[in-house]
Amino acid sequence: MGLQTLPFNKTLFKKDWKMTKWLCFVAAGILFFTMTLGVINTYNNYQRTLKEVEEHPERFSDFDAEVHKDYIKESLMRMFKRLTGMEPVVIIFMPMAAAALLFGEEKRKKTLEVLSTMPFTRREIFFNKVIVACVNVFLPFLINAVIMLAALGLSKGLRNFYSAGMVMSWLGADVFRLFVVLSFSLLFASITGTSISHLVLTIIFFIFPIGFAGLLDMNMSLWGYHTSVIDTFLNTFGTYTMPGLLDGIENIPIVFHLISAIVMIIAAKLLFDRNKLERSGETLEFESIETFFKVGVTVCTSLLIGVIFTWLIGGIIFFSGDVPRIVTIVGYIIGILIGWFIASYSIKLNRVKA
């Protein structure tokens, strides 16, 4: 029995990396300027403050160097444990953008057709894209972690403020979050035919549990039902959703997310194998989910327009939120029409001609 080797292909890797490396460097730059630079300057800033206190003691009458140092240490600890600044933005959008460039753009530009005529298997194409996506999303964090560790090695003073362990925990937590978001994005890359439809659907489903619960809650309020069921549901299961990944790492059910990420990658691979290249460039790769997509968009748009319409009419005509229910119903109907039209039009617009 022959051993099955991993389908790593240097040529494909180099090609995919060339297409997407700019994304990696942009993310590394964003992280550096919004986080790392501040961290590695901590000691200098602290020293500058001490000098200032020494020069102008009258301005800092209550200043206690130790208290100030503890405050900085605590801030840094919080920074390493919680997502701050541009970090959550990078964690959410970087994997989505990488997957969209590697899959959606290749489908939209039909370069995937060229690849399929070349001596590469589908397995190799998928596997190498996943590897490049991982490198793209992990590398910016790794580069910044290395910079923070190098600064720690070069500056004794910095060691009073943070440790290598803190950097490594930060890196581990973010790599875990990135892996889960990337798996989620890869799943949508396998069911959509363009980068735009990929990004739109990934973002919609990313916020779906919270967004839909919020929509339901607002609509129930319009009809006079005030219930805490939705709040209770979100409080209990919120960390199991994708936005829940942005919570503190200690609150996240890591095993659940890791298992679901692995399941999503396997599903993405199986769906990618079933992708038909004649549907590249279409909104959805599978005709069978078009109805589900239309109904989903219609329901959500109806609920949203129902609320907006009620608020608008209430504000303009009735000058209060207390409006006849027929207004809300009219809003729902307008929403159904708009939602169905948008979903159908987006499918029709991208329909590939025979």
Partner: protein, 299 residues
Amino acid sequence: MIKVEGLDKYLGGDKILDDINIHVKKGSIYGLIGPNGAGKTTLIKNLVDIYEPDKGEVIIRGENIKDNTKIKSRLGYVSDFQYLYPSFKVREIVKFYKEAYPFWNEDRYNQLTKLLKLDGNKKIKYLSKGMKTQLAVLLTLSIMPNVLILDEPTSGLDPVVKRKVLNLIVDEVSVSETTVLISSHNLGELEQICDHIGIIHEGKILLEDSIENLKSNVRKIQVAFKGELPDDIKKNEHILKIESIGRIHQIVVKDNLEIVMEEIKKHNPILLETIDMSLEEIFVYKMGGEGYGFADIAL
């Protein structure tokens, strides 16, 4: 070398290809012709594993093409639109092909670059359609293909470049015994290079034959009589079409040239000669004989 058996393909619920069977022999140049929307590009995309047949299979060099890297390493494909990576420079795409194809031939590549002058530092998105096609031909011939599949490779090219590309293809076949399948709307062009022709119409292969057979089966006779064209010639069942200019009549005959010639000779013509027909004329008359109106098969 290339064998397609019972291939069906649906696109968007419509049956685009219906029970396609073709056979291309090793070292031959096979021209695939048919009107717009006949299914030529869909068939070609099935041949190169872009599309997956809904029924039937594509066999190249004795093996199914599906996900077959061994066959694809010697399979050259030039499409009607060149979907090469637009952000890549010419030299980068050359490097990509060089690394991807195990039989890449640097000498051949260097020879071809002398013929097709391309700026290696230019990005593909800035190349004209003709330049992109030249690049695709250059890449495809440098991988040392033993099967070449070309989908309207000369459309949009100027006559000089068109001639260059066609010469390269013919040279390739004569030097390396490469099997070529080429689709084109330009029948005159195909006539010059092909030895076999397949006609596709509404997703079906209507006929497959050598150009030699096609030409010997459908002939044109030029004839003149002192008086009118005799009625029994007009009614002859082997005659596909008669065109008359004054007393000169051009008669298109299907399959039974000798019988018609004998019939004409009985009426003592003052002029009697056979004229070779172009592939385009044969195509039109053959389709007419198959029950398709000229309007249906206009290229």
